[in-house]
């Protein structure tokens, strides 16, 4: 193993941590806005579309498959491909959730509660698509038999963060204080 691999941090890892910090702050700003807005009388309470909970399980499962992929990448890219598939499934599930809300007559401008739901899930979804792109990049490298340890490490860090972020958003959107 080279001296470089022994370093505690790599630019990729630092970069992901800094990116995570930026996303956390962004979500903190949205949370602040949500708390201020929730105090107003035009806030409508609505039930989240049930498919959201299925999506949550899909996303958690994808973190598990990603760890399996990290544990045994020599055995092939099967687990990694599965993670990629689950990621896409989550995005499709989110689109279905939006359609469900729209069918109930809850649009972006209907109420601040629906507005925050659309905005927060869209922001999370966009970042998740970034994670999917990272998985595609790692898959491509693995297929060409290139070294993927560093890239996979960084991608996994980001992916697990998106899972945690989703759990936070779910809590924020469901818990009524």
């Amino acid at each position: 193993m080279s001296a470089r691999a022994l370093r505690a941090t790599t630019p990729a890892r630092t970069g992901v941590w800094v990116g995570i910090a930026a996303i956390v702050l962004m979500v903190a700003a949205f949370t602040g806005a949500l708390i201020v807005r929730r105090a107003e009388s035009d806030w409508i309470h609505f039930r989240l579309p049930p498919i959201i909970y299925v999506n949550t399980l899909v996303l958690l499962a994808s973190s598990v498959t990603l760890e399996r992929a990290r544990a045994g990448l020599e055995a092939g890219t099967r687990w990694l491909t599965m993670t990629f598939g689950l990621g896409l499934l989550f995005v499709i599930g989110q689109v279905l959730a939006w359609r469900n809300l729209a069918a109930q007559g809850l649009f972006l401008a209907t109420s601040p509660s629906s507005a925050f739901f659309y905005v927060l899930t869209a922001i999370h979804g966009l970042h998740l698509l970034g994670g999917v792109a990272a998985l595609v990049y790692v898959l491509g490298r693995a297929r060409r038999a290139q070294n993927v340890a560093g890239a996979l490490d960084a991608a996994a860090l980001y992916w697990h963060f998106l899972g945690v972020l989703w759990l936070y958003l779910l809590l924020l959107l469901t818990v009524q204080l």
């Binding site: 930026a22 702050l25 700003a29 949205f30 602040g32 806005a33 807005r37 107003e40 035009d42």
Partner: protein
């Protein structure tokens, strides 16, 4: 394991030298080219912003003056060449936005930081060259989107650079430019945030991970320290402004009500919104906005701390105190945003809560100023143009900072906040001081950037006239403010304020003069670029790594070498092999007690 002297860089070279024109000069991955591109953008932006300020000043001094050509350029806003009050506000908005975002953020931070930081820490490039390239082009796109607001029928927005809601959120009912113009503004700033986040990410990862062997944090040059701290502040600030802009855009185009209250009637039209909070925008904006002041000024702190010892031939006084103070400023900058909102009906107790940290933040700023003055004391000063601008920086920063003591008191601020006193204050402390930092950096690093020296005589004339000019412009504004001249008024034609017009005329003449002096700087830049005397590697006998490589540096900065750092950046005024200083890479031992 590598042995000393043959260190492996922390990351492998990311890319080879480019061969095509497009890769070399346009979509370049090289941090040096990207830095110059940022500076080029800032140069275009600063002259645009300056011409806008001339238009404002002319109207303030001569309210009935028809400005030739303006009527043709914009018949709605300036029929016959005399601008309407709304058009004055449009120009003011664009002046502020262009200057704050595209000059004071891009030049000292993204521009010089990009060029100098990787070389100062001995790296071949930034950690993520592709993100770096994207950062510039995204910022460039943001500038084009903003400027395009001049070419939509209703013109640019009138809500100022702070874009207070609901004026900024309700759309075209709120006035000319508040429809498409304001939307373009919000989109531009959102894009700008993305660009600066990519930049900050790069600065942080590069500083943490790509330092060469021996470049410990304690040996890091002060400019690099300042850029690093600035990038952390920027990461936080732009992460907050981006969501705010997204919500503003949605209020504009999607009919949401984040910032627009219920029952709002504008121009006899009831706005179809419910329950939004205009104050929410102010909080989000200033949580970004106050740290933004430090994004503009901290690189100047670093630049001055780097340049002063080189021309005083004396180590900087208290380098650790300097770095600690800069970190303290960065930390405190997030606790004071409410002092921009004393007029918003804030509870006096909350106002006190913001007033106290505002006063506390002056302590590290004062300490830094004293360190600079202490460094000058007893030094063997070399009055190069760069040094003069550093001293000028200290002067204007102190002048602007002192009025800050007054404004930090809510009881005084309530009277002064809406007046020219504040305009004078922030132009000194944030605008002119940051510009002096940019000038100092330009005269200092130009030889490294282009391999040619700038003309010192022209430079000194440029400094002297600019220094006198800015005092003539901004000092009288404090008196105007105390006398009750309200900022954002397009003309002071009513009875009470009429008497102030002569002073406004003096300021206008000073502004036109000082602006014209900048053409001298532009001429010096262009002429030196092609006709300047060839620059040696280390024209200033400075200690940091950028002066160990050729001027301009090769593509990988050190021509395949990996510098090993053995000294701090502060070894001036001692006996070294080359004279009175020891370079950071020198193999010499420090003299006893040094």
């Amino acid at each position: 394991m590598s042995v000393p002297g043959t260190t492996a860089p922390a990351a492998a070279p990311h890319h080879g030298p480019p061969t095509s024109f497009l890769r070399k000069y346009v979509f370049s991955l090289d941090h040096k080219v990207i830095g110059k591109q940022y500076l080029g953008l800032a140069l275009v932006a600063v002259f645009t912003g300056m011409v806008l300020s001339w238009l404002m000043r002319l109207h303030l001094a001569y309210p009935d003056l028809a400005i030739p050509g303006l009527g043709k350029l914009y018949p709605n806003g300036a029929p016959g060449g005399v601008m309407t009050p709304e058009y004055y506000l449009s120009i003011m908005t664009m002046h502020g936005t262009i200057m704050v975002f595209f000059v004071l953020t891009t030049a000292p931070f993204a521009g010089f930081g990009n060029f100098v930081l990787p070389i100062q820490i001995g790296a071949e490039d930034m950690a993520f060259p592709r993100f770096n390239m994207m950062s510039f082009w995204v910022t460039c796109l943001a500038f084009l989107v903003l400027v395009s607001a001049f070419f939509v029928p209703a013109g640019p927005p009138i809500s100022g650079w702070t874009a207070y809601a609901p004026l900024s959120a309700v759309g075209k009912d709120a006035g000319p430019g508040q429809g498409t113009g304001q939307l373009l503004w919000a989109i531009s700033i959102a894009i700008f945030c993305v660009g600066q986040l990519l930049g900050s990410l790069n600065f942080i990862a590069t500083t943490l991970d790509l330092r060469t062997r021996g470049m410990t944090l304690a040996r890091m040059p002060y400019a690099t320290w300042a850029w690093f701290i600035t990038s952390v502040i920027g990461l936080i600030a732009f992460s907050i402004l981006l969501p705010a802009c997204i919500l503003l855009i949605l209020d504009h185009v999607a009919g949401t009500s984040f910032f627009i209250p219920a029952g709002l009637v504008i121009s006899d039209t009831l706005q179809p919104h419910t329950g939004g909070s205009p104050l929410l925008w102010q909080h989000l904006f200033w949580f970004f906005g106050h740290p933004e002041v430090y994004i503009a000024i901290l690189p100047g702190f670093g630049i001055v701390s780097q340049i002063l010892p080189a021309f005083a031939r004396k180590p900087l006084l208290g380098p650790r105190v300097l770095i600690g103070s800069m970190i303290a400023i960065g930390f405190l900058s997030y606790m004071v945003w409410g002092h921009h909102m004393f007029l918003s009906g804030m509870n006096p107790f909350s106002a006190t809560l913001f007033s106290v940290p505002t006063l506390i933040i002056t302590i590290p700023a004062t300490i830094i100023t004293l360190l600079w003055i202490g460094t000058l004391y007893g030094g063997r000063l070399r009055f190069t143009t760069s040094m003069l601008f550093c001293i000028g920086f200290v002067s204007v920063f102190v002048s602007g900072g002192i009025s800050g003591f007054f404004l930090a008191q809510p009881s005084i601020d309530v009277y002064l906040h809406g007046t020219y006193f504040v305009v004078g204050h922030f132009h000194f402390v944030m605008g002119v001081a940051a510009m002096f930092g940019i000038f100092a950096a330009t005269y200092y690093w130009f030889p490294k950037m282009f391999g040619r020296m700038m003309n010192e005589t022209l430079g000194k004339v440029h400094f002297a006239l600019t220094f006198v000019g800015v005092y003539c412009i901004f000092m009288p504004m404090h008196y105007l403010g105390l006398h009750g001249d309200v900022r954002r008024y397009s003309a002071f034609t009513d009875e009470y304020m009429k008497g102030d017009i002569p002073l406004h005329r003096f300021i206008t003449i000073a502004a036109l003069f000082t602006g014209a002096v900048q053409l001298l700087f532009l001429y010096n830049l262009v002429r030196s670029r092609f006709r300047g005397a060839p620059a040696p590697d280390n024209p200033w006998q400075a200690t940091t790594l950028e002066w160990t490589t050729s001027s301009p540096p090769p593509f990988d900065n050190f021509g395949g070498r990996h510098p090993v750092v053995t000294h701090g950046p502060n070894e001036y005024g001692m006996k070294g092999r080359d004279g009175d200083y020891i370079m950071q890479t020198s193999s010499e031992q420090l003299p006893a007690g040094g």
